[in-house]
């Protein structure tokens, strides 16, 4: 039995790796995408275009503006001369944010506090707007604290001290890159497994396989192996890149990480083979991959938290293997979670993997003709 499984697995590898086109598709895009997307996928804003409408020529106003320009988050664009220009600048996306300092800013600041500044922000992308507002309010608060100290004013009765665990500087890249590992692994495994049977069907070689002494179960196992092995190798390469090039910390143990990877590969392979067994033609297989891949990515918590989704959609994510893998990756990378702490993520992956593989096996036997 094992001789036959190994023979078929070797053939699968040869078929994947000897064809320059499929070799290219399997190796180059994942690595390229890791590089491109890792740089692209960040919620941290840099160089937000800021236009200042400064009606007060005072030193205090200049000091406040200097705090904005001193931050890497903002870049000044041409100053605004008339209030009437503000709508146009925002509308045309010339500036994302306008800082409007009133004519008696310094006077108010020195004599009758509070001095108020107005911030106008383009809310078309509400997430960007919220983040930029956050930056602005931090800057204003820092300005306040320093001003109070410098002028001997009474401080607030309370102070807030913030610490962020696992990611002290709140770099969103640390959050995104482990997610990309999962994303790319899923794509590679799906491409390798989901199209393999349909391709053989179309080339007529599947019949040839079925008249050999191979059993359906052996075909299933042999078709699962290349996806798992290639997925494992690529995962390792991507993790190495994440740690070395992008300096994402890897706090947890490799054993925990690879347990998660193995279980995830099992479930992704299961889904892939299920699609493979269900589709009679290549086109159907491709459509199946799409129909699984797109929701699996969006509903995995990769970019937007699952907790924000409506309850029904949250329930739906429970059958998405990528959802669990996202948690595992991030926990192991950033939190250094222990093996025991992730049991709750491991077992659903195992269940998904076994049930999809069993279903694929059943389909193999019953849809052979």
């Amino acid at each position: 039995m094992w001789q036959r499984i190994i023979a078929l697995s070797i053939k699968e590898f040869q078929a994947l790796l000897r064809d320059p086109r499929s070799r290219f598709v399997i190796i180059i895009p994942p690595l390229l995408q890791l590089l491109v997307f890792s740089f692209a996928a960040t919620f941290d804003l840099n160089h937000v275009p800021l236009a200042v409408y400064n009606q007060d020529g005072s030193q205090a106003a200049q000091a406040l503006i200097a705090r904005f320009t001193g931050s890497q988050h903002f870049t000044l664009t041409a100053p605004i001369e008339r209030e009437a220009d503000i709508p146009q600048r925002i509308n045309e996306q010339d500036a994302l944010m306008v800082l409007n300092i009133g004519p008696r800013f310094e006077h108010h600041l020195l004599v009758d506090r509070p001095a108020s500044v107005q911030i106008i922000i383009d809310g078309r992308n509400s997430n960007t707007a919220a983040i930029a507002l956050g930056y602005a309010s931090t800057i204003v608060q820092d300005f306040n604290t320093d001003w109070q100290q410098d002028h001997g004013l009474p401080a607030l009765p309370s102070v807030m001290q913030t610490r962020a665990w696992f990611n002290p500087n709140l770099e969103s890249r640390w959050f995104i890159i482990p997610g990309i590992v999962g994303l790319l692994m899923l794509v590679v495994v799906m491409v390798v497994t989901a199209l393999s049977v349909a391709r053989e069907r179309e080339q007529g070689t599947f019949d040839q396989l079925l008249v050999t002494p191979l059993r359906p179960f052996e075909i299933l196992v042999a078709k699962a192996i290349p996806g798992m092995v290639i997925g494992l190798l690529e995962a390792t390469a991507i993790i190495l890149l994440a740690v070395t090039v992008f300096a994402v910390p890897l706090h947890g143990s490799l054993l925990t990480l690879y347990t998660g990877i193995a279980l995830f590969l099992l479930s992704a392979t299961g889904v892939g083979l299920m699609i493979s067994a269900l589709s009679a033609t290549l086109q159907q297989a491709v459509l199946g991959v799409f129909l699984f891949l797109v929701p699996a990515v969006i509903l995995s918590g990769f970019a937007t938290p699952i907790a924000n989704m409506p309850p029904l959609v949250q329930d739906l994510t429970l059958i998405n293997p990528l959802r669990y893998f996202m948690v595992i990756l991030r926990s192991v990378f950033l939190e250094g979670s222990s093996f025991d702490g992730l049991i709750d993520q491991f077992w659903p992956l195992g269940v998904i993997g076994l049930s999809t593989l069993a279903f694929a096996g059943w389909l193999f036997r019953n849809r052979m003709h």
Binding site: Q3, R4, I6, A7, L8, I10, K11, Q14, A15, R18, D19, S22, Q203, G204, T205, D207, Q208, L209, L210, V211, T212, P213, L214, R215, M368, H369
Partner: protein, 593 residues
């Protein structure tokens, strides 16, 4: 730039004139010359045949003439126009039917015709008359609403021809129109072509790998490996063979044994089974060799004889290798207590929805027999075949192969059969050696046996030179050899061959049959489907299927005898086939009346 298509200035001397035409594909290291230095002339108003084996360059030449490819060098004028400078003008006057005519299978017959009428700019008022004419000619009038995908192979081919002819072209190019078409449809296609030439004065260039069709052409151009080997009337090719072709017959023994014996005789250039005798081509100026009990009769030379002779003189090496066939040291069939009939089929039925593909057929195959399954497209051959191999469950009835039903039996039982599918399903990106190794491993051969069997296959099938090339790049003949080698890797008792020779040239086919004969002699049972009716003669027994039922069963001689009539006392297999196939239709028609 565009002249009205119907006003030809003067009658042309030649429909096509090519001078020193060359065309190659690929980049320098792997460059192959598909057509090299071809010069030819095609006369208008007659059928010219472009004859050549697979990969002879027929399709490339057709595409060059149709303006679909640009020649590397040389000049080409079609209907007096230069193809290079104005392909569109040529295309508006030429009808071209590619080998796999691209019918839109999800469109109906009528919709396909409409599309081509639009594309060829046939004015609307002229359409009804033209459609009626074409549908009458192709006998598709009753099927205008049927989706093209649901037509039989022959009907598809006729529809393709009708689409090409929507606007009557001055020159018709047909690229292997009869490949994969059953003999009845082949005859109909030819009738249409002759009618076109007679009624409309059309010039036709037709390529084919069927050598018997060459004799129906007014002119023949013989193409081999991209070069023109000769051009002339079919008779001019066979003239020189007068007095060199004989039929040999022996009262006792199998014909294939006699054939093998004759082939080994130095004076014999070619020996094939033909009806009850063996057809022999002798060396020039040689008398028939004296063999015991052999009766010789002189026969008319055929085009195939001329073709084989020319090809053999070009490639003597491949001929030699086949002569020295050595089978593996496998013991000839263990003659133990098992029943003599190794395949048994009783009341076998397969339905797809309401459609009955195979309708309660029964037959038996004996050990060491070559058993043929013949029939038109859609007769149910492939369905039967797939059920026997366990690829398809039967709807009802019983079947056993080597005592078991392969669909239910343990996987081990499948190790006793070898299977070679249509189109030679091989892993195209794997090398020859990797394909062999894969099958050797899958069948669980020991490491030592793997080595010896692979060495055997490379040697026996002359594949050593291609050992490391991707098998997708092999010429078709070699693909066929490799597919057969893979099927024989584990020395099966029973070999299933599904149209193993389609598209393969006559020389390869001869080698193939020689191997099959030897396998049968060693006790291997062989089950084969084929389109080539002359190959039916190689079978020990055969069944002819039509519409899911068996029309005739028995030895080739018996089958032929079933259809012999007063006006045709000695029908050929093809004639017998057509006669048998048209019978039930006639009966059904009578029954209705």
């Amino acid at each position: 730039m565009s002249t009205p298509p119907d006003t030809e200035p003067h009658e042309l001397a030649f429909a096509i004139v090519a001078q020193g035409l060359c065309k190659s594909f690929g980049k320098p290291p792997k460059r192959t010359d598909a057509v090299s230095d071809v010069s030819l002339q095609v006369k208008p108003g007659q059928v010219t045949g472009l004859i050549g084996a697979d990969a002879a360059g027929k399709t490339t030449l057709m595409r060059l003439i149709a303006g679909l490819l640009t020649p590397d060098s040389g000049s080409l004028s079609v209907l007096g126009m230069d193809v290079l400078s104005d392909p569109l003008a040529v295309q508006s006057r030429v009808g071209y039917m590619p080998q796999h005519f691209g019918l839109y299978e999800d469109l109906s017959v009528q919709e396909n015709l409409d599309l081509y009428a639009d594309l060829q700019g046939l004015p609307r008022p002229e359409r009804p008359a033209r459609y009626a004419q074409l549908l009458a000619m192709t006998k598709l009038g009753d099927f205008t609403d049927r989706l093209a995908g649901r037509l039989s192979g022959g009907m598809k081919q006729k529809l393709g021809l009708a689409c090409t002819l929507v606007r009557p072209p001055r020159l018709l190019l047909l690229d292997e129109p009869t490949v994969g078409v059953d003999p009845v449809s082949r005859r109909e296609l030819w009738a249409i072509v002759f009618q076109l030439v007679a009624d409309e004065g059309m010039s036709v260039l037709l390529s084919t790998a069927y050598l018997d069709e060459a004799e129906r052409c007014a002119q023949v151009i013989l193409l081999h490996e991209g070069r023109v080997l000769g051009q002339g009337t079919p008779a001019s090719f066979t003239e020189q063979l007068q007095g060199r072709v004989f039929g040999a017959r022996r009262e006792h023994g199998r014909r294939r044994n006699l054939q093998a014996e004759l082939s080994a005789t130095p004076a014999v250039l070619d020996a094939v089974i033909d009806g009850d005798q063996v057809r022999v081509l002798l060396q020039a100026d040689t008398a028939p060799p004296g063999l015991p009990e052999v009766i010789w009769t002189a026969m008319q030379p055929r085009f195939e004889d001329a073709f084989v002779l020319r090809l053999q003189s070009l490639a003597p090496a491949s001929q030699a290798s086949v002569q020295t066939v050595q089978l593996s040291p496998a013991a000839p069939a263990q003659d133990d207590v098992r029943p003599a009939s190794i395949i048994e089929v009783r009341e076998l039925t397969r339905r797809f929805g309401a459609f009955t593909a195979v309708d309660a057929i029964s037959f038996q195959v004996e050990r060491g027999e070559i058993f043929g399954l013949l029939g038109a497209n859609g007769a149910g051959k492939s369905t039967t075949f797939r059920m026997l191999c366990g690829l398809l469950p039967a709807s009802s009835g019983q079947l056993s192969v080597a005592g078991v039903d392969l669909r239910r039996a343990a996987a081990r039982a499948r190790a006793r059969i070898g299977y070679m599918s249509q189109k030679f399903a091989l892993y195209e990106v794997l090398s020859v050696a990797q394909n062999l190794k894969f099958f050797a491993r899958t069948y669980g051969l020991s490491r030592e046996r793997q080595r010896t069997r692979i060495a055997w296959a490379l040697d026996e099938f002359d594949l050593a030179a291609y050992r490391d090339s991707n098998c997708g790049l092999l010429p078709l003949g070699f693909k066929q050899r490799l597919a057969m080698a893979c099927a024989l890797m584990h020395e099966p008792d029973i070999l299933f061959l599904d149209e193993p020779t389609s598209g393969v040239d006559p020389i390869e086919r001869r080698a193939f049959w020689r191997r099959i004969n030897q396998l049968a002699d060693h006790g291997v049972t062989i089950m084969i489907t084929t389109h080539f009716l002359d190959e039916a003669e190689y079978c020990d027994r055969l069944v002819i299927m039509s519409q899911g039922a068996i029309l005739a069963e028995g030895s080739p001689k018996a089958v032929r005898a079933q259809s012999s009539s007063a006006d045709k006392p000695n029908p050929t297999m093809e004639e017998a086939f057509i006669e048998l196939i048209s019978r039930p239709a006639a009966e059904a028609a009578h029954a209705k009346a």
